[in-house]
Every structure is written in structure tokens, then in C-alpha cells.
């Protein structure tokens, strides 16, 4: 008898609303005020009508005076519109780290390091009271939905010491960070006694922009003004352009996002089912198409692949700041009589935000400013590269260092999304004697608490251990209600402040690599610390890259055989060098 399938209701986009408490009255209220009152309902598709977007992708949040709405440096998935009241954006100087729920960067002194000789005897995961004490400038409360809100205790002092700017009803903020997956650029807090803010999750914002020209133009203008100009100025390809040329370029640059913003959840599910497949990744550029622009990756990652047999093989992956398609366009500019199409396919991995500089803009403004040396070498029709007559054109693929890494390893790194790691723990199994000196060193450095597992997926002689990779795209930082998990301002490590961690597990659930552990903490005697409800207090723990210690990560320094390295896997050249060392 054939097996009977389990039948369930097909999942729909709005099965779970952003805020289930949104009522018809709330939606009617929103539809009555600009900009929603000016949005023509007929412009929205039948699948995503305006009313449903507002009902399912937005939430009305009420903040009290001094409450922090967004923190500088945090990653967020939503934008805000002020409905009533006022908020203030901190301009200069920035609020100190402790006031944002973070640890002030510091290194251990010699005597504190030496004290680790005897502090190792402390019970596991034990904390002193002072380690759990928050900054005096911060307060914490729970709102009506039991969500934690952090507020500034001494608002007049903050206003006195920091230059701020007021934003009032109708103003938008947080849209660039939400759409481009970049860190928030400023801290914003409530200035009036009460403020009502409409929080719009990125999917809703995207659909609103898609259907409403006014909003799209508004966000487009803000993006070009606040983010694009400075980014283009910092891009090496455009360094010869004058300010006027850069302004002109900025007018013509297009931007786009591909993939799933919340990729980590889906990825975890697919990885468990063993069904992570490149074919399911959205195509940004198709091999063989006319090269209509140079693609600049602003955030996220993309896979460069080429047809091979009936499938595709991965040749490289590229991350933020890297280009695709430049070689083909440069070639066509130099040899218009022998044009070539895109040589490779580019697919978004996870979520990718990118800029596209159209070919005619490249030919008009950029290519004439480059010297012959800066233009890529021309690939002739006689080239015998495996990908066809012009296969060696692109610097992002065949001629890159990835060509020296075998295909299996590259597929392994891409399928497991290890390219995200800026300090991935890689172990050479041909050299590793399994002595666990690295684990002991980690435990010694962290009061007898090892912060990683010397085990993980492997390919050939390369193993990627289960340790925080300090990702370029740190999805763990999305949704932390107190800012406890944050990037260290000095070297960019992702660290957790135990004093402000409330044990909500948001970071551990978000991490696609299972690198964050929730632990029940103890006091110095070894007794579990519990809350008023007698339930244990949880804290998130993970590798902090020995941020407080001198000399770098203890695990790496402790390996006697040079088998372990903390590596930026987005830099394949380093990996290639390390593999053949």
C-alpha cells in the first residue's frame, strides 16, 4: 500500500502577522493619515493589498520618554514612522557603549591575567554580582507585550552632552538599515512623554515601495543622499572621478535586493533536511546574457558559478565591496567588434543587497578614467580556458585565488555558508593531533568555560569547528532587545555583554551555525542564580575571540602544530595560502 501523505494547510505569507494585536480600527486609522491615505489602493496587487500589508506587516509601538528605539551599530529588520510624539536622533558625540547596553572595550591587565591561574577553580559559568550590574545610566522595563524596553535614566544630561535632532509625526527612520541590511547609523530615543511609532517590517516596506511611487522616490532619495554618495566615493573603481562625475554616477546607479532577508531560519531548516541547493538561489545575473551593468555587492554574499554538464559548478563567492561583470564590460569597451556576454552566473546566497552601474554609465564616466593597466587583460578567442573563449575575463571567478582551491572545498564552504565568517575556526586535520590544547586554552582564558567545540563539518582535510565565526553578516544581532550582543567597536568582534543579556535566546535561535549556547549561570559559590519566579537565569555565551586578552585568540596560539587558524573565509587567498603552507 502506498504511504498516505500528511495533508496540512499550505503555509501562507501572512499566517503569522508581525503584530497579531493589530485591529481593524488600527488599520483604518493608518489608512486615514499620510502617506497611506495618499496611496492609491488599485496600485497594489491582489495578493498584497495595502490594507493587508498594514494589518500584517506593521505594528503600533508605544514608547515612553527616554526609551531607546534603535541603537547605533545594531542590525534591524524594520523601519519606523512616527505617528505621534517626538523622537531625537543622536548626532555627535555618539552615546558611550555602556549606555547602549554594551561592554566598554578593555584589555586585561597583567595581574588580572595572572589571576586566571587560580580563577580557573571557580564553578562553571559563575559570575560575580558586579559582572551582572548594568550601567547606571540605563534602565529596563517590560512593555504591555512583555517586550524589554531600555531607557536612558538621565535624559537632560544626555541632551546636554550630545547634539541631537528632533523628528516629528510623519517622519521615517531606519529604512536604509532595514532594506540594505546595514548596521543602524544612529541611536534614536523618545523625546516626548509618549510617542507612537509605526514599525514596518522589511517585507511590508518592500511591498509598499513596490506599489507606491511616492514612497519609493522618498526612500530612493534618502538612500542616494545618505548612503550612496559616500559609498561610491570609497569604492576604488571610482577613485578617479570628480565630485560632479560622482554625483552624476549616483543619479544613475540602480539598487536591488535579492534573496530572503530572514535567510538564517530557512537555511537552518533546509540544512537539517539536507536540501540546500544552489539551483534554489535567486539569479542576479545569468551566464550568457548581455552585460548591462557592473554589479557591486553592498551587503551579503553571492555565488559565482558556471555551466558544467547539465548543472552548475561553483567557481567563487563574492562578498560586500566586490564587483561582478566589470571584465566583460571593460572588454566590450576595448573591443566593441568582439563583444562578449556575461561569462558566469551570479546568484544571491541568503540575502544580497547590491548596486548596479549601467554599462552606458560605465562607458561614459568610469572606463575612460582608467589607465590601460587598470583595465583587465583581454581574453582572446584562442583562449583555451575550460569555460569557453572568454572564460578568463572575470576577476571574480576563474582567475581568482579560488582557482587554487579544489572544487569540493569551495562547494563545502559555500553550501555551509562559511564565507560569512571573518574569524572562522578552521582546522587542518592532517596536522591536528586531537590534543585539545586549543579547548583547554579557551577554557583557561574564560574562567574554566570552553567557548567552542573542536568538532564540526569537514571536507577533505579541512574542518570548520563549531565556534562563533564573527560573521560579516551577523544575523545573531538581529532582534536583541537590549543590545547585549554587539560588535566590538575596536576590531569588530561580535561579543555579548552578560550584564545586559536577558537570556531571551533570540541570538541563539537566529545563529545559523549553532555557535551560541544558552547557559544557566551560578554565583561564586556554585549555586544557580534564579529570578523572582525561581526559574534559572539564562545568559547567551559564545566565543569572544579573546577580545580582553593580549595576543589574539588563545585557541590559535595554543595549537602546537599550526593546525588551527581563525580565518576570514571571505578572503580565499588566505585560505589557499594556508592550505598549501
Amino acid at each position: 500500500m502506498p504511504p498516505t501523505p500528511s495533508i496540512v494547510e499550505r503555509p501562507q505569507r501572512w499566517d503569522v502577522a508581525f503584530d497579531p494585536a493589530m485591529t481593524d480600527a488600527d488599520v483604518d486609522r493608518l489608512l486615514a493619515i499620510p502617506p497611506f491615505s495618499n496611496m492609491p489602493a488599485e496600485k497594489f496587487s491582489k495578493r498584497t493589498p495595502l490594507r493587508e500589508i498594514l494589518r500584517n506587516d506593521t505594528a503600533i509601538r508605544r514608547y515612553r520618554k527616554g526609551e531607546i528605539v534603535v541603537r547605533q551599530g545594531d542590525y534591524g529588520t524594520s523601519a519606523f514612522m512616527i505617528l505621534s510624539g517626538t523622537v531625537r536622533v543622536v548626532l555627535k558625540p555618539d552615546l558611550p557603549p555602556a549606555m547602549l547596553g554594551r561592554q566598554a572595550p578593555s584589555k586585561k591587565g597583567f595581574f588580572r591575567m595572572l589571576a586566571q591561574l587560580w580563577s580557573e577553580r571557580r564553578p562553571p559559568e559563575s559570575f560575580q554580582r558586579k559582572q551582572l550590574r548594568q550601567d547606571a545610566g540605563l534602565g529596563e522595563r517590560r512593555d504591555e507585550n512583555e517586550q524589554v524596553r531600555v531607557f536612558l535614566q538621565d535624559l537632560p544630561r544626555v541632551l546636554d552632552k550630545h547634539r541631537t535632532e528632533e523628528m516629528t509625526a510623519g517622519d521615517f527612520f531606519g529604512e536604509i538599515a532595514a532594506l540594505s541590511r546595514m548596521p543602524r547609523t544612529s541611536t534614536i530615543f523618545t523625546a516626548s512623554d509618549e510617542a507612537e511609532l509605526l514599525e514596518i517590517r522589511w517585507q511590508g516596506l518592500r511591498d509598499l515601495m513596490r506599489s507606491d511611487d511616492q514612497l519609493r522616490k522618498h526612500i530612493d532619495r534618502i538612500y542616494r543622499e545618505r548612503a550612496l554618495a559616500s559609498y561610491l566615493r570609497a569604492t576604488p573603481l571610482f577613485r578617479h572621478l570628480t565630485k560632479e562625475q560622482l554625483d552624476e554616477l549616483a543619479k544613475h546607479v540602480e539598487f536591488a535586493s535579492y534573496g530572503d532577508y530572514d535567510w538564517s531560519g530557512d537555511y537552518k531548516r533546509l540544512a537539517k533536511a539536507g536540501s540546500v541547493r544552489p539551483e534554489k538561489e535567486p539569479v542576479i545575473v545569468q551566464e550568457g546574457d548581455y552585460p548591462n551593468g557592473v554589479v557591486l555587492l553592498r551587503a551579503g554574499f553571492a555565488r559565482v558559478s558556471q555551466k558544467f554538464g547539465t548543472g552548475e559548478r561553483t567557481l567563487n563567492y563574492i562578498g560586500a565591496g566586490q564587483l561582478f561583470g566589470f571584465d566583460e564590460i571593460a572588454h566590450n569597451f576595448q573591443k566593441p567588434q568582439d563583444p562578449v556576454p556575461y561569462q558566469y552566473t551570479l546568484r544571491a546566497i541568503g540575502y544580497t543587497h547590491l548596486l548596479i552601474v549601467p554599462t552606458r554609465v560605465m562607458e561614459q564616466f568610469v572606463l575612460p578614467t582608467l589607465s590601460q593597466k587598470e583595465l583587465p587583460a583581454l581574453g582572446g578567442a584562442s583562449s583555451a580556458s575550460p569555460g569557453g573563449p572568454h572564460a578568463r575575463l572575470s576577476t571574480t571567478a576563474a582567475s581568482s585565488p579560488s582557482a587554487t582551491i579544489d572544487g569540493d572545498t569551495l562547494e563545502f564552504l559555500t553550501a555551509n555558508r562559511f564565507f560569512n565568517g571573518t574569524a572562522t575556526m578552521v582546522i587542518d586535520l592532517d596536522r591536528c593531533t586531537r590534543c585539545d590544547d586549543c579547548v583547554r586554552a579557551c577554557a583557561s582564558t574564560h574562567d574554566n568555560n570552553p567557548r567552542f567545540l573542536r568538532h564540526g563539518p569537514s571536507s577533505g582535510r579541512l574542518m570548520v569547528a563549531n565556534a562563533c565565526m564573527h560573521c560579516a553578516d551577523p544575523v545573531c544581532m538581529i532582534g536583541c532587545p537590549t543590545g547585549a550582543i554587539h560588535r566590538e567597536s575596536f576590531a569588530g568582534q561580535v561579543v555579548i555583554n552578560p550584564a545586559t543579556c536577558i537570556g531571551c535566546k533570540a541570538c541563539a535561535n537566529n545563529c545559523p551555525y549553532e555557535a551560541i549556547r544558552m547557559v544557566e549561570i551560578r554565583d561564586e559559590r556554585g549555586d544557580f542564580i534564579v529570578g523572582e519566579d525561581f526559574r534559572p537565569i539564562l545568559k547567551a555565551t559564545k566565543c569572544d575571540l579573546c577580545v580582553e586578552n593580549w595576543g589574539g585568540p588563545a585557541c590559535e596560539r595554543a595549537c602546537p602544530h599550526g593546525a588551527l587558524e581563525r580565518m576570514n573565509l571571505n578572503d580565499l587567498e588566505s585560505l589557499a595560502d594556508w592550505m598549501k603552507r
Binding site: N549, C559, G562
Partner: protein, 283 residues
């Protein structure tokens, strides 16, 4: 030249230069200097203390004392250098007396165990990476226990179709259960074939697989499927044993090298005390 190649080249070059220097110094000064034995002895003792300090470095990973890899390189080449210093201190002659003899034997054992350890640490990891998957040593007993339970369940069930119920393709005999008791029970009980695994011999596994193959002729189709599964478990258990054997070796040699080192250091200090106590003012 690769990084490891460059390291080896520089280390070997420095070792040869230092050794040549030590031999030349011995030739020149062993006859000229009346206290040459003291000089060579103190140099040897200093280098031995440097070697022993490596263990201290390992115990203080939180202090910024340089990478363990660099320390090990110094440890290895300085260790080889002590051979020349040791022979020079003995004046290239056999030691006399039981104390000096014991001291010399301890030195030889420490050096020998160090060389064996170096050999293991260069050869065994490569082999571990090629067979038996990657497994944490502490987890081996639990994994072995799980395999044993799986194997016993298969043996008791008699055929694949009858696990947890009656076989639809029966009747089935007790051949597999008997075979398990006679040939596999001991195998699954604990780690086996330590030395063959260390020597990279597959003879015990091949013999077991041959025995499994021999018994096939007495089984029906369902029982053969069970036997096939048992064979897979045997291979997995063999992989675990392989890892156990090699990982234990990689860990245990230190338990030989370190106690011998401590003994050598104690004897060396005694040697210094005795020399100074009985020198009778000759220095």
C-alpha cells in the same frame, strides 16, 4: 617554499650551525679549559630547562608568551641540539657508575620518546583524517555502546524484517545469533586490535568480513539483509577502534615523555649537587 618547508629549513640550518659550533668548541676547549666539564654541563642544563619550560607555556595559555607552535619548533630543534651537547659533556665516552649510567639512560629515554612523539604527531593525524570519520575521543565509548546495542538487537532479531516483530519472509534460524555470540560479541564489547590499527593493518577487519561472508550461505534472504547491516556495523566499529588506537597513542606518548622528563630533571639537579659536593675545590 611552503611555510612549513621554510620553518624546517631554517630550523635544520640553525641546528647544524649550533651543532658544528658545539663540536668545534669541544675540540678546542675540552683539552685547554680545566673546567670544561662544568661549562658543557651548565650549557646542557640551561638548554634542558628551556626545553622543560615549554610545558609551563602550555599551562599558561592566557599569558601572551608567543605561539605554542613557535615554542614547539624551538623545543624540537633545541632537543636535537642537546644530543650534541650531551655527547660533548660525556666527552664522547660511555658514562661510568650507576648514577651517571641511570642519568644517561633517562636522557636517552626522554630524547627517544620525544622523537617518537614527533613522529606520531606528524604521521598519525594524516591517517586519522582518512579513515573512520572524525570523532571526538571522549565520545568513542558512547558511540561504541550505541553500535553494540544496535548489533545485539540485529543479532537477536535474526532477520531485518523481524526486528520488533515477526518476519514476513521467515522461517529464520539462530545462525546469526550464534555467529554473533561466537565471533562478534567480544569485538563489540570494547576496543579491539590496538596494535594492528596502529600499524595500519586491515587483516583483522578482513578476517571478520570473510567470516561474515562465509556464514551467508546458511541464510535466507531476510537474514542476509540482517547480515549486511551487521557487516556495516562491524566496519563502523572498526573505524571507531582505529580512531581509539591512534588517538590514545597520540595522547599516551606524552604520559611517557613527561614523567621521564621530570625524572631526568630531578636526577640532573642531584647530579649537579653531587658534582659540587664532591669536587673538593677542584673548580
Amino acid at each position: 617554499m611552503s611555510r612549513f618547508g621554510r620553518q624546517s629549513f631554517i630550523g635544520t640550518f640553525l641546528l647544524l650551525v649550533a651543532s658544528a659550533g658545539a663540536v668545534m668548541a669541544h675540540r678546542r676547549w675540552s683539552q685547554e679549559l680545566p673546567n670544561y666539564a662544568y661549562l658543557s654541563g651548565w650549557v646542557l642544563m640551561t638548554v634542558m630547562i628551556l626545553l622543560a619550560l615549554y610545558n609551563m607555556r602550555k599551562r599558561l595559555p592566557f599569558l601572551s608568551l608567543g605561539s605554542s607552535e613557535a615554542w614547539l619548533q624551538v623545543h624540537v630543534y633545541a632537543g636535537f641540539f642537546t644530543v650534541v651537547l650531551f655527547l660533548a659533556h660525556l666527552n664522547f665516552r660511555m658514562p661510568t657508575g650507576w648514577f651517571e649510567g641511570t642519568l644517561a639512560w633517562l636522557y636517552l629515554l626522554v630524547t627517544g620518546s620525544g622523537i617518537v612523539g614527533l613522529f606520531f604527531s606528524r604521521v598519525l593525524p594524516r591517517r586519522l583524517a582518512t579513515r573512520g570519520g572524525e570523532v571526538i575521543h571522549e565520545k568513542i565509548p558512547a558511540l561504541r555502546h550505541a553500535l553494540r546495542q544496535e548489533a545485539e538487537a540485529l543479532a537477536l532479531a535474526g532477520s531485518a524484517g523481524s526486528v520488533g516483530g515477526a518476519s514476513s519472509t521467515g522461517p529464520y534460524s539462530s545462525v546469526i545469533a550464534d555467529f554473533y555470540l561466537q565471533n562478534l560479541h567480544e569485538f563489540f564489547r570494547g576496543p579491539k586490535y590496538f596494535w594492528p590499527h596502529l600499524l595500519d593493518s586491515r587483516r583483522p577487519l578482513n578476517a571478520l568480513m570473510r567470516e561474515l561472508d562465509d556464514v551467508r550461505r546458511y541464510l535466507n534472504e531476510a537474514e542476509r539483509a540482517t547480515l549486511q547491516k551487521l557487516g556495516d556495523l562491524v566496519r563502523r566499529k572498526d573505524g571507531l577502534d582505529y580512531h581509539h588506537s591512534l588517538q590514545v597513542t597520540l595522547k599516551l606518548w606524552l604520559f611517557v615523555h613527561l614523567p621521564l622528563t621530570y625524572s631526568l630533571m630531578i636526577f640532573s639537579v642531584l647530579h649537579v649537587i653531587i658534582v659540587f659536593a664532591f669536587s673538593g675545590g677542584s673548580r
